[in-house]
């Protein structure tokens, strides 16, 4: 370090041979210390980065964004997608925003994605974090809309269904189901989201007239359930029964290990002395 005062010419560095590693012992000591610093520093660093990457799983990405892990790795945070968006939908996340620092995201209640047919944000992405193979914008899956039926006007019986009418993929992403209201001679027209068609553009969330939107868009994995692979709905999938998968890996693995060890499952319990 600059231990000298510039006004003292005598302190001018004249030699590069300052002996640091004077002894072997000190060398080992230094190495271990260095390694410790590197490890703890590295762990802290990784923690910060990973934490940041996972901090806001609710952030909506531009159309064509790869799955989170790949997107986070590939996004170079250059903001060119943000510049390319003609509707000012996208923002680069600043600190404490809803998305990892520096990555593009959008909040549909502010400005939704209007699904430009030429996908200019995707075209601007230099790294392929926004998939270059997305050709048709209606195939993008930015998120999935879901309806808070307790606060949706239509679900209370009012004639609203604005989400349905503004949806660019009406009947593919949102449909309306009619049901009798029973309380009077009026039917209810209930909007329902179809996950297969929903792009997550958020035009519905933007248009929802309630004080806080009763239809919201979030990344699909946060809200979408899944029926177990072991069951097929016989009335919806032709030949579903024959396409059942092999028994689960866990079960198979258990069988195998039991054979290996001459040890059948449940023996521990069966042989235990207590009743």
């Amino acid at each position: 370090m600059c231990r000298t005062h510039p006004s003292e010419p005598s302190a001018f560095i004249t030699s590069g041979d300052s002996p640091i590693m004077t002894t072997r012992r000190s060398f080992i000591q230094k190495s271990i210390q260095g390694a410790a610093v590197a490890t703890s520093g590295g762990m802290l660093w990784s923690y910060l980065a990973i934490q940041n990457a996972r901090a806001e799983p609710s952030a909506l990405r531009p159309p064509g964004a790869l799955p989170d892990a790949d997107f986070n790795a590939l996004c170079i945070k250059c903001g060119r997608c943000v510049v390319a968006c003609p509707y000012n939908t996208l923002t680069l996340a600043a600190l404490a925003d809803r998305a990892p620092l520096g990555t593009p995201y959008f909040e549909p209640r502010q400005i939704p994605c209007y699904l430009c047919h030429d996908i200019p944000c995707k075209a601007a992405c230099p790294t392929g974090a926004l998939s270059p193979t997305l050709d048709e914008v209606m195939d993008s899956r930015m998120g999935l809309a879901f309806i808070d039926t307790e606060h949706c006007l239509s679900w209370q019986g009012l004639r609203c269904e604005i989400c349905y009418r503004v949806c660019p993929l009406r009947d593919q992403a949102i449909r309306v189901e009619t049901r009798r209201r029973e309380l009077s001679k009026h039917a209810m027209l209930l909007p329902m989201v179809l996950s297969e068609g929903c792009t997550g553009c958020g035009i519905c969330e933007n248009a929802c007239p309630t004080e806080i939107a009763a239809i919201k868009v979030l990344p699909a994995e946060l809200i979408q359930g899944k029926i177990g692979d072991h069951f097929r709905m016989g009335w919806t999938q032709a030949g579903g029964a024959t396409s059942d998968p092999e028994p689960g890996e866990t079960w198979k693995g258990q069988l195998d290990s039991a054979k290996d060890q001459g040890h059948a499952p449940g023996l521990d319990y069966l042989n235990a002395p207590e009743y």
């Binding site: 009798r180 029973e182 309380l183 009077s184 001679k185």
Partner: protein, 92 residues
């Protein structure tokens, strides 16, 4: 004319079917349903007290009904004047 308020309780999952079944009964109107608890408020009209009791048993006999209790009751003496209006319209 007897008008009674009846509380009906069904399993929440069956509330829709029960509502439909109740509405299908003559003189019975569902006024309120509470999907989370399965409680249904029903208003029933009957000419005589006997009919009223019989009607309550009919509700109790509906599939899925766990409880049907008369909570409130009024006797409405005013005779219907508006014969011109079909009876089912009056329920509108």
């Amino acid at each position: 004319m007897n008008i009674s308020g009846i509380l009906v309780v069904v399993p929440p999952a069956r509330i829709e079917g029960a509502t439909r079944a109740l509405n299908a009964l003559p003189g019975v109107e569902v006024h309120h349903t509470e999907p989370t608890t399965g409680r249904i408020v029903v208003v029933q009209e009957a000419e005589t007290v006997d009919q009223e009791v019989a009607a309550l048993s009919r509700i109790k006999a509906l599939s899925g009904v766990m409880l049907a209790e008369m909570v409130y009751h009024v006797f409405d003496e005013t005779p219907p004047e508006w014969d011109a209006i079909p009876a089912d319209m009056a329920a509108s």
